[in-house]
Symmetry: C5
Subunit: 156 residues, 5 copies
């Protein structure tokens, strides 16, 4: 089997270098995997970056977006989210979407920690889905897992 | 006729193992049917999971999503909903969308019951549509059926 | 010329049997037309039902949706509306969308009357567009017609 | 060169006969152009009407929509707007979207004047783009032009 | 290698001639590049303009939109944003979206300065992506860059 190729798409708008975190985490998680990175200005540029990465051969992509505080930023988030889902449907390929919203917390240090945790955990999710397939996460189904925050846990 | 294949797509974000409930309900409702399950991190990953399940041969899919309490979660819900409808239009295949919103009730036990009821009832809906076709639910048309809550009932 | 085929897609969520009203109205309006009916659980299932009806040969479709009172129901309405427009663009076929919002009025009898009126009037609109073509409604252009309510009337 | 064909799509929901205004304005602006008109019930029917007009040979289309006052009307506006943009992308053809919102003003006479002005000005825009091409409006770029209202003017 | 072709799409609705600024900035940044400009009435016309520019051979496009103050303008922004992302996915080509919201500031002089700065910086971003490729901005990833405002800076 060919080694897996992972795409990492990040932005210059982001205030944390989540692309680097994703590259390191994927490398650690799947040392035989190859990684291609694509940096764009902001979240609305991420869908086409993901599509181009898939066209270059990536078996899965992680996008790392950062969203401002205003209502307009939220509409941009919605448009980008629709676009990222569309890419996946056009290519039948996973694009795991990591998004940090600048208003998740007032505390900048906490915000950085959220970004790092979310980027790491979703990088691992991507490797599991790409390398191990559709049952890789089934043991964790319904467990209330969270990225960037503590797990919410299972209700039943 | 070939036996039917059902797809079940669920998430690790969910706080109830609705995927398991769907598998059990479909198995009981259509014992000759085959089931393929796909677990992803969150709701925005469900559309591509549904598409891949259909590409693997599923005649219909049920997705089981869990949505947080913030406005951003609601935008994610909107993007995912648009994506799930798009999958159906691309493939002319039903993808029944079960969604639980964490703010439907403050009572966690009640929330779990809603999730179980909704997952069960929609699993049965999926079997009826896939196995019995477009008239299977016509006897119930306009009856104000609800999933997760008591039926609202018919006005006329 | 072949007789026309009309599609009627309705839901079990609806509290009024609008599908039946549509079938009766279309039959009366175009007695030579054939009708195919498709019943699904809720509004987010209507777009694929409409697409499948068109693939079965329908020259036009009417969908009859019922939407709850919460903001989440409204997001579902938005997603379904985008989906219904997408079906039309994929097939170049009219899908007339009848939607009743449960919060249009507090009065349940009034709500039922709105549903009946809207379903009837749009069924007639569908027949006119399918049977008589793009000029059939031009004599009424700009007249402020309403379905479910009294006509608003023309301003000029 | 073949004479140009313009599409005009309007609604019976509108309270001003903007379709007629568009037909007259286009005829005056490009007397050699041919016009095809398509009347539908409401704004959500406009995207497919525009697509069918383009399929009938139109080189460009103007749609004339009227939107009610409620939040639900605004979601319908959003869905229709996405649809109208999608038509353009599917066909690489301009569809100029004239929309009147019933809550732009309380004064019905003023509302009628807005509708007339907007329909006229955008009809001229359509002719310029279809007949004269991508540079036709460049002399007016950044000039703060408005339709239905006085021009806002240039800031620099 | 063939010289690059850049597309510039702007509007007559805008109150600043951002198209001209983009043309000048791209010319300065990549003197061997060719530029094609397309002017349309408003933001909802930008997606098809971008698509047509790409069909004429552009390797990348910058769109320069201006959005009014009302909630309806914001829905138009959302629809246009989804359309601009769709164009990129249909063509696998970058379309950098510069948008000025008239309510970003009450001060018209400040608003003009925001427009100029944003148009310039994103024109440079476009050249970097088109000419230098997916790694051109990676050195700036996570740096909290802003266009129209001061950079927010990196948190880690």
């Amino acid at each position: 089997m060919t080694d897996r190729i992972y795409g990492v798409a990040d932005t210059t708008f982001s205030r944390v270098n989540m692309g680097e975190i994703a590259v390191k985490t994927i490398t650690k998680e799947d040392p035989e995997g190859k990684i291609i990175r694509y940096t764009v200005p902001g979240i609305k540029d991420l869908p086409v970056a993901a599509k181009k990465l898939i066209e270059e051969g990536c078996d899965g992509v992680i996008t790392l977006g950062w969203v401002g505080k205003t209502q307009l930023d939220k509409y941009s988030y919605l448009a980008a989210s629709i676009g990222l889902i569309t890419v996946q449907l056009m290519t039948s390929t996973h694009v795991i979407d990591v998004t940090i919203h600048e208003d998740e917390t007032e505390d900048e240090e906490r915000l950085r920690d959220i970004a790092i945790d979310r980027a790491k955990k979703h990088s691992i999710n991507l490797v599991k889905l790409v390398r191990d397939g559709r049952s890789a996460l089934t043991g964790l189904a319904g467990k209330g897992l969270r990225q960037g925050y503590e797990n919410a846990g299972q209700l039943d």
